[in-house]
């Protein structure tokens, strides 16, 4: 069940606690800012000079493969690690040396770290009790938090009596009840099965809308990041490769890594022939390709042209050639995979390059494996990768 059951009352009652003294409109000060942050663990260079600004009330994701330094960044924001170099700011104040228990942040741990010897109520009340709030207030806030995660009546349950999804929600309630300025989440849905994960993604996003707190979300799952985030920082090997909205990083990847990490892409190696304000003319083997204008494309240089599979089309005999800007590649269909809404075609060009093309499954005439085809795309659907 989603938390939507109780409707607006719940949100209102929770917000009445959460929002006091905290403006909902994004103010100029970033909630979190990292400036040239490095982290060394002994001889391991885990984070290599990261700078980023996370705005207030933003849902910001750190996306990258395992071991790229996501957790380390989160732990530096929450205060469990100190940057070896660089500065972490929280609401504009230098926070490098502030211990975790004095920060206005709360972290949801990768394995949740719920207290096994306490029941649900005591887990959620943990932070409030440390702040010595009066009992009735604690009771009210715990109740509001339980309503927020739709677990009213679970107060006296013990942690081991909860399902994975319920534990997940208790962890969220335990953090949010403290009304942190920033909520940090470290792959919180990693342990859940796919169905539950997708459901929790939606719920988390909803919760974030209601409480209006900055969320910094760590994940290695690109779909998850794209579903939930306002902006994504794509990380690799301790670096941030690109920061932008889901659309930005998906449609305008700046590096090969970003292009391949976020979904499938067709990468074509090419040389720049000429370039002007409208377009870039490329040569890939025998083929002449047209890409978008790119200031970095100097004639003679090598670039990679990236085109997403759903942007490729078959140029059939009957199809007007208008709109393809002259991008044409002859290929042979190796395989056609039915994926429900789409059919994914695996192609190989005359020069041996492999391509993926996605077409709607309801297309009038499916192409059979073995068929010779011509593939086309618009010049603005290509992206030039210089790195």
């Amino acid at each position: 069940m989603g938390p939507g059951r109780q409707g607006q009352d719940v949100a209102a009652s929770f917000l009445s606690h959460v929002s006091t003294g905290r403006p909902r409109e994004a103010s100029a000060l970033p909630a979190v800012e990292l400036e040239h942050v490095h982290k060394w663990y002994g001889s391991i260079h885990a984070v290599r000079g990261i700078s980023l600004r996370i705005l207030q009330n933003e849902f910001f994701s750190l996306l990258g493969p395992s071991g790229c330094g996501k957790t380390t960044v989160l732990r530096m924001i929450s205060g469990f690690e100190t940057p070896t170099e660089g500065t972490v700011y929280l609401k504009g104040e230098v926070a490098n040396a502030i211990p975790p228990y004095r920060r206005d942040t709360n972290l949801i741990f990768q394995h949740l770290a719920l207290f096994p010897h306490l029941d649900v109520y005591d887990n959620i009340a943990f932070g409030l009790r440390l702040r010595r709030l009066p009992r009735p207030e604690i009771a009210r806030k715990v109740r509001a938090a339980l309503e927020l995660v739709d677990l009213v009546g679970y107060d006296t349950r013990r942690i081991h009596q909860l399902s994975g999804g319920q534990k997940q929600r208790i962890a969220i309630a335990r953090a949010l009840v403290n009304e942190p300025a920033v909520l940090l989440l470290d792959e919180p849905l990693g342990a859940l099965d796919l169905r539950l994960r997708i459901q929790m993604q939606v719920e988390l996003k909803e919760i974030q809308h209601r409480v209006g707190t900055t969320f910094v979300y760590v994940t290695h799952d690109q779909t998850e990041a794209m579903t939930m985030s306002d902006r994504i920082a794509v990380m690799n090997h301790g670096f941030v490769e690109q920061i932008g909205t889901s659309r930005d990083v998906y449609e305008r990847p700046r590096t090969r890594f970003v292009a391949t990490f976020l979904g499938d892409s067709n990468l074509l190696e090419a040389q720049v022939e000429s370039s002007n304000a409208d377009q870039t003319v490329l040569r890939a083997g025998a083929a002449r390709l047209i890409g978008p204008a790119d200031a970095g494309a100097t004639p003679g240089s090598s670039v990679t042209l990236c085109v997403r599979p759903e942007r490729l089309r078959f140029a059939g005999a009957g199809t007007a050639s208008g709109g393809d800007d002259g991008n044409r590649l002859d290929a042979r269909v190796r395989d056609a995979i039915f994926k429900g809404a789409v059919i994914e075609y695996r192609l190989v060009t005359e020069s041996g390059a492999r391509l993926i093309l996605q077409a709607h499954a309801d297309a009038a005439r499916p192409v059979e494996p073995g068929a010779a085809v011509t593939v086309t795309w618009r010049k603005e659907d290509g992206v030039l990768l210089t790195e």
Partner: protein, 297 residues
């Protein structure tokens, strides 16, 4: 009968059979020895002792003697005090020790700490006792130091006294106190302390709200083990008590030497009952607290 179906299915039955096979011999051996020994003990405790030999007639006079002579009440009281003091000191010293070991970062130092803690167990009890003789004697190390520092005017009696026995017992039993605590502390997820800190707990608050309650089962096991071992200690009170520290194991041995089997049997029975009563009593007392911690994680 088709041979295809001859093989028994590997289900719960197969598993329990295997378990019986594995645990059977040890169980039978332990049960037999314990039961037979207990029966012999009980029978003997009811026999008559003439002063030179045991007569197999049921009298119970050994019981009467034990429970009417205040000497024995004094011994039991001294023994309980000794065991309780030893256990208390072991816990007070052992808990911080175990906690500190979990905080050591360097593997080399961890090994060094383990060796140090477990060294008493690697030494023969006789050698250990003589070591303490040297340290605690009138002209021993401790008195020498106390005199040199002008903390005392004349040598103090440490040896052949409860003090010396307690110190030596703490030394031997400390590994048994440290180990259960250490293993529970090591099993506790460090992320829990971080979660507490994240929610606003200082180090001290984190310790008392998370580590301490979660380590209670270890502390409890350590206390029980130490207490039982202290109650049953023989060599240490024998060598370092100098006859001034009387405990039941010593009396049992003396009575057996004098061939007074009935009295020895009564003393042994009392010792066993005391230990078991303590264990069961404390289990009942802490049942609820332990139950809530059992199903952690």
């Amino acid at each position: 009968m088709s041979p295809t179906y001859a093989a028994t299915p590997r289900g719960a039955r197969g598993r329990s059979l295997a378990l019986t096979g594995l645990l059977g011999p040890a169980t039978v051996f332990l049960a037999a020895v314990l039961l037979v020994a207990l029966c012999i003990l009980l029978v003997n405790s009811a026999y008559h002792f003439t002063g030179t030999q045991v007569q197999p007639t049921l009298t119970f006079e050994a019981y009467r003697h034990f429970f009417t002579d205040p000497f024995y009440a004094g011994v039991v009281w001294q023994e309980i005090r000794l065991a309780v003091t030893t256990t208390a000191i072991c816990l007070v010293v052992g808990y911080p020790t175990a906690y500190a070991i979990t905080k050591i970062r360097r593997p080399g130092w961890v090994i060094a700490a383990y060796i140090l803690i477990f060294s008493p167990l690697l030494t023969s009890s006789i050698v250990r006792a003589y070591g303490w003789l040297v340290v605690l004697a009138r002209g021993g190390l401790v008195n020498w130091a106390l005199l040199r520092l002008h903390l005392v005017a004349a040598p103090v009696r440490l040896l052949f006294d409860v003090t010396g026995v307690t110190v030596a017992l703490v030394h031997v039993l400390l590994p048994f106190t440290v180990f259960p605590i250490l293993s529970v502390l090591l099993r506790t997820d460090p992320a829990l302390r971080e979660a507490a800190a994240d929610l606003g707990a200082t180090r001290l608050q984190g310790f008392f709200r998370i580590t301490w309650p979660l380590s209670f089962p270890g502390l409890y096991a350590a206390a029980q083990l130490t207490f039982v071992l202290a109650m049953n200690a023989y060599v240490t009170p024998q060598l370092l008590g100098g006859g001034r520290v009387q405990v039941l194991p010593l009396l049992i041995y003396e009575n057996i030497s004098d061939l007074d089997w009935p009295l020895a049997a009564v003393e042994a029975t009392v010792l066993i009952v005391l230990v078991w009563a303590t264990m069961l009593g404390s289990n009942l007392l802490f049942r609820r607290r332990l139950a809530t911690l059992e199903d952690r994680r």
